[in-house]
Subunit: 492 residues, 2 copies
């Protein structure tokens, strides 16, 4: 039917069109169906929403995502994209073929699936799982979409840590070690989604993290490494779109996790990748054996892709390092690189770097590279190449002004530090939006404390945010202290 | 944070709010998260979408679904509704408790779930199924929401047919039979969603079908029966909302189907219900045993609710009756009630009415009630009570003017009439939007035909729609004719 189109911005990333109820009935389409819009010989497909008021009969509201569509257009009902059938096939618990998975990935990339279909895809692979073959196909399909880097080097290193552990800022220490050992490591990282800081947020304290692919290439060619935000380079554009359907239910289907990580590594041109899987209460993976299994899955799918994966597992039941929040984590990083800083962060970074160098077949000692100052020098080189101040000192990294220290209300031992509550506390204090906000942890699990000893200090830009964080601390006990007796057996 | 709200209509039924990207970051919320909006002591919860352009920093776009929200408001991040956890539990294939299912149903009813969460719910119960206990809890929860009718009678009859069979217009014949036998039958029916006519669309040819609950009660008290659109009475408001997430993937999870049907019957105050499950190629259920199983499921869940279900199965591999489309089906109904009309529709209606009367323990003969003219008289009484013309004749029911007859291009036997293609053909011809559009089938499966014999005739309001329907007929062969030899063994 003939309708008059005009642009309408309803704040959705999807190619939505708004139809009046009567016109929708005439076309025989329902909300979330598609219509085909033809004007001057060009045709676009939109996803339907129906309104009685915003759009008058005979007119069509078109969101900008569909391009410039204005004036008289011909509108007809359009079939669902082919991949909807494959989403349903997965809900029926039938294994998907390579071309079916590719169709789903391409339709997600092109915004051809509506929220219901996207959610059904995530629900299906979460509920019914994916075979190794499916995960490999998914990884390849995700890597095909978007850019891909290639390097002349035979060995290109990379690293990924499964999230969930607060303060786990290994990459800014590991990347300079690897780069200083003469191996390229084009590291991309994420920003925080539900945590108080992602590696990209922490690095942004030092320098720019948003780069195009040619710019990233320049940084890596100059320094052997980089520490940039993955969202700015276009290595796996599908990932961000899938997250929209993962977030509301906090779903992280294993096959999708592996594909998202490895497709980015593959697209970065990396050949040898260390995958760190933290396990324990509050980490993404509960137990040691489950973590090993996930590591093995990564290795197998990597083999299919021609990417050598070195899987590693690590205890993730408590935060790593001292600071939580971009600036406070940046201070830890600088201290470790200077041969100082939290011992657990130093040991973990050094150990992962050692395993990665082993996997790459490079004869270099990660500990030496830190102790000799070569890692720090390389870090400052990367910071400079990314537009930051190479002479940055801890004094330049000032935590937020509003502060409060929480102390032990009894003598005893620290029995538990909860990653999720610590993260939530950091967010309430204002991180990552306020980079200097967050908290510093004064203790680790197993430490003995006396009444009045510092447990942690919260930093915020405003007293409101400080109070909000402290209210949570008061209620949720992020750092649990128990007497020696209670620590052995607790009455509940 | 403080924002200035103004109303914005983006054509969504959900309580959506639009935030500027920077404000969303400050609040720490992502698309599809919730915010709590407080103004003058009242608080509402909105679902977030993020825009950079439509809504300026410091302002908030609020859809009408949230009520009148205007001017300065206080906005904070709000937690997800509790039921999101239970949706996830179902995706984990764990059985849900009664109160968990009730929480999901109430949140759906109040539009508290976004499309991703609603779709995950449907995907979860589709993929992982529901136990009898879960289905019973779901039925009760759906019945609790919305209105409920009660009647002084000990026996109140009802009927439901699982969809998928074109032309299957049994209710307008069965309801007057039951009502004429002295049993109340407060029948609600649906409008077409993807078919060319629902029972409500067909009844609308004769009279009004949109009634409030008090009006429905008056009609039933006057005539013993009614034939109204279920969407106008508020018996199961959750149903329409769930359909939004079922349609895009054509999902119809069994537990949800049973709960949707029986909750409406329960809310209508019905005590004895016949459930007709058609089976066969092109029907919703493939095989005879699968249909029996579904019938048994209905019966068991009905027992828990205190509703006596008489399950029945019927062949559904080809359309029932002659007409497809509201007016053309209305003609069949009127003819059968007059003791004439398509034999299959008469036999099926009579048989289901007989089984229902048996279940109700009423000693009356359905065939006699038709043959004596009492069913027709009762039908006209109901039509009059619903505001229609009781003296309507076939002559008042004129099919659309543009017509084309499709004939057999060979001699042989009709081997197949495809429900889905026949339905699509009726929709392309214009039904149900054009009530007089559709088609009439001249043959049944098994009929012998000579070259040039009529197979079916298409009716449409415009030549465009007629051509569109004929193009499909040409391509898709809705009525398949094969030679005697081919009918036995077909080369492919």
């Amino acid at each position: 039917m003939e309708l008059v189109a005009s642009e309408i911005d309803i704040g959705t990333h999807l190619p939505t069109v708004l139809l009046n109820g009567g016109d929708a009935e005439e076309l025989g389409v329902h909300p979330l169906d598609r219509v085909q819009i033809t004007t001057d010989g060009t045709t676009v497909i939109g996803i339907v929403e129906v309104t009685e008021e915003l759009v008058a009969p005979g007119t069509l509201g078109v969101t900008r995502r569909l391009g410039h569509v204005e004036g008289p257009v011909d509108v007809t009902a359009a079939p669902k994209p082919r991949s909807v059938r494959y989403v349903r096939k997965k809900l029926d618990d039938r294994e998907l073929e390579a071309d079916e998975i590719r169709a789903i990935v391409r339709d997600i990339e092109a915004d051809r699936l509506n929220d219901v279909e996207l959610s059904a895809y995530v629900s299906g692979i979460y509920s019914n799982g994916m075979s190794d073959a499916e995960t490999t196909h998914l990884t390849e399909a995700m890597a095909e979409v978007g850019e891909r880097l290639s390097w002349p080097d035979e060995v290109v290193a990379d690293k990924h840590s499964i999230g969930g552990v607060a303060g786990n800022r290994v990459s800014p220490i590991l990347v300079p070690i690897i780069a200083a050992a003469g191996v390229k490591i084009p590291k991309t990282s994420s920003r925080a989604v539900t945590s108080p800081a992602g590696t990209a947020d922490t690095m942004e304290v030092f320098c720019d993290v948003e780069f195009s692919i040619p710019e990233l290439r320049d940084v890596v060619e100059e320094t052997n490494g980089c520490l940039v935000w993955g969202g700015s380079v276009d290595l796996s554009p599908v990932d961000d779109k899938i997250i929209r359907a993962e977030n509301p239910l906090s779903l992280d289907p294993t096959g999708q996790l592996i594909a998202s990580v490895l497709s980015k590594k593959y697209s970065a041109g990396s050949t040898h990748v260390i995958i760190d899987v933290p396990y324990g209460e509050g980490a993404k993976v509960d137990g040691h054996s489950e973590a090993r299994e996930l590591g093995d899955d990564f290795e197998r799918v990597g083999d299919h892709l021609g990417v050598r994966v070195a899987p590693a597992v690590s205890p993730g039941h408590e935060p790593i390092g001292r600071g939580i929040g971009p600036v406070l984590e940046a201070r830890d990083v600088l201290a470790v690189l200077a041969g100082d800083g939290p011992e657990d962060l130093r040991l973990k970074s050094e150990r992962l770097a050692r395993l990665l160098l082993d996997a790459c077949g490079v004869d270099a000692d990660a500990g030496d590279i830190i102790d000799s100052g070569r890692a720090e020098a390389k870090f400052r080189e990367i910071v400079a190449a990314q537009g930051g101040d190479p002479d940055v000192t801890a004094g330049d990294l000032t935590p937020a002004e509003e502060r409060a220290t929480v102390t032990a209300d009894r003598a005893g031992v620290v029995t538990h530090i909860d990653n999720r509550i610590v993260s939530e506390l950091g967010r309430r204090a204002g991180a990552p939006k306020d980079p200097a906000a967050g908290l510093t942890l004064a203790r680790h699990v197993g430490d003995e404390v006396a009444t009045g000893d510092e447990l942690f200090t919260v930093y915020a830009e405003t007293t409101d945010k400080l109070d909000d964080a402290l209210a949570l601390a008061d209620r949720a006990e992020p750092v649990r202290v128990r007497s020696r007796e209670e620590a052995m057996v607790e009455r509940i």
